[in-house]
């Protein structure tokens, strides 16, 4: 029984080794990159030019085609960091460290994008670039959490140790995230009645909903593409002394 389990574990371990992940991700890459290009191109033209203008907000609402997927990816990205962190700490899988290192700046980028597009939309709609609304504030705090993880990843001379410390921080952060979110929401309702409700949007007609869906899929594919590209680079950099990377470089030269 234990023998059988051990053999199963050996198979799993070999599939998650950096070397195997490098080969596998090379095969996956076009399956994410091309859909990303096509879906984003289609979604942008459809959303920005073809979809009808909003009867209240006019054309400024069109920023949701970028804003909403970015915000969703910013939160999903932190969850990914935490999952990679848990895998790093529990099963000591090296590949998870490298994926987390690759994912943190990408998630932070999408978080920043959500904040910037949101504030650009806020100017014509609310008359101000920034309000201390609960959602905006918790998004800003999420960005700070990303910065913390990134700072810890790069603070150590020993890359592996930095990744493990950052993995632990990401797991602690994800436990804190709901507490922070609800605290901020309650803080906001204590301070002032919520003036703007983003959550209760009138239900969307399909002409607006479908391009949003396309953009969602496109940006998710872009997110996956960026993470795969950066992970592959990280793997090559950290495994540069191993035999298979040298072999790869020599093959490349010929």
């Amino acid at each position: 029984m234990t023998n059988w389990l051990r053999r199963l574990w050996a198979i799993i371990e070999s599939t998650v080794s950096p070397r195997y992940f490098y080969q596998l991700s090379g095969r996956w890459l076009p399956w994410f990159a091309w859909p990303a290009v096509i879906l984003i191109a289609v979604g942008l033209v459809w959303g920005l030019a073809i979809a009808p203008a909003d009867y209240q907000q006019g054309n400024s609402y069109r920023i949701i085609f970028i804003h909403v997927p970015s915000a969703s990816l910013a939160m999903g990205g932190y969850l990914l960091l935490a999952i990679c962190g848990a895998i790093t700490l529990i099963w000591r899988v090296k590949t998870a460290e490298m994926v987390a290192k690759a994912a943190a700046p990408v998630g932070a980028l999408f978080c920043l994008m959500a904040l910037v597009t949101g504030s650009l939309w806020g100017k014509p709609t609310w008359g101000t670039y920034w309000v201390w609304d609960a959602r905006l504030t918790s998004m800003l705090i999420l960005l700070f959490l990303y910065f913390g993880v990134m700072a810890l990843q790069s603070a150590f001379e020993d890359v592996a140790q930095g990744s493990k410390a950052a993995a632990l921080l990401a797991v602690v952060g994800v436990v804190n995230l709901p507490i922070i979110k609800y605290s901020v929401e309650w803080w906001n309702t204590l301070h002032q009645g919520s003036t703007f409700r983003i959550t209760e949007r009138p239900s969307m007609p399909p002409e607006m909903y479908l391009p949003l869906l396309v953009m969602f899929l496109g940006l998710y594919a872009l997110f996956a593409t960026l993470i795969l590209l950066r992970s592959r680079q990280e793997i090559l950099q950290r495994e540069r002394r191993s035999q298979w990377v040298r072999q790869l470089i020599e093959d490349e030269r010929e």
Partner: protein, 225 residues
């Protein structure tokens, strides 16, 4: 046996602190200095100060705790005491808890005792001072526990200084919100029990989880893997 080790760690830390008065005195002086800056920078007008006093005192206390936290595990890490603690039969989270409690007595409790003075300086009415003290008593231990995770994560770095605040500040936000909320509520004569209960809930959660996270971080720092 296990408890005796924890008590010994606790007593040792207190004894060390009592022989190096700078260690625990400096954050307190820092706290008072930050409080002094506010009337100078914003306005010495009593009504305005009273309005902001809760927030100012809490921000100053948070900064003082974070400043003091950097040294929590550092000297033990450098002279090898931490390795010895890892080798004792007592579970590491318990020892971490003992160290944090000893540290809290020097920072959090000391700040709490100093807070009424800061409150008077910022023109807080004496009826609010009780709430201020209670919120600090409940809140600063949570701050210490959370920033202990940060201190443990950065213990192996030669210059961890700014990193501890950077990585733990977002996690202190809930405590800050409800602590200052309790003071605002007390100022306007509203009941404060709900706020204090929430601060107590945060404290219990931090007491249960933070020592384990900090212990895991210390193991990472010592073993390097």
């Amino acid at each position: 046996m296990i408890w005796r080790i924890a008590v010994q760690v606790f007593q040792r830390d207190l004894r060390l602190a009592s022989r190096q008065s700078g260690e625990w005195l400096n954050p307190l002086i820092f706290f008072l200095m930050v409080i002094t800056l506010v009337p100078l920078a914003i306005s010495p007008e009593p009504a305005r100060l009273r309005e902001m006093a809760g927030g100012i005192i809490w921000i100053a206390a948070l900064l003082a705790v974070l400043l003091a936290m950097d040294g929590l595990f550092r000297s033990d890490f450098e002279d090898g005491t931490l390795e010895q603690l890892l080798l004792t039969p007592a579970p590491l989270p318990l020892l971490v808890l003992a160290k944090v409690l000893a540290h809290w007595l020097q920072t959090g409790v000391a700040l709490t005792l100093l807070a009424p003075l800061a409150g008077v300086l910022l023109n807080l009415p004496s009826s609010v001072l009780v709430t201020l003290v209670l919120s600090l008593l409940l809140g600063t231990l949570t701050l210490s526990l959370i920033s202990a995770i940060g201190a443990a994560l950065t213990v192996g770095l030669r210059r961890g200084g700014v990193l501890v605040p950077l990585i733990t500040l977002p996690m202190h936000i809930p405590v800050l919100i409800f602590a200052t909320g309790s003071i605002q509520a007390a100022l306007s004569g509203l009941p404060v029990v709900g706020y204090l209960a929430l601060l107590g809930a945060f404290l219990l959660l931090a007491l249960c989880l933070a020592p384990f996270a900090a212990a895991a971080a210390l193991r990472l720092a010592v073993s390097g893997s």
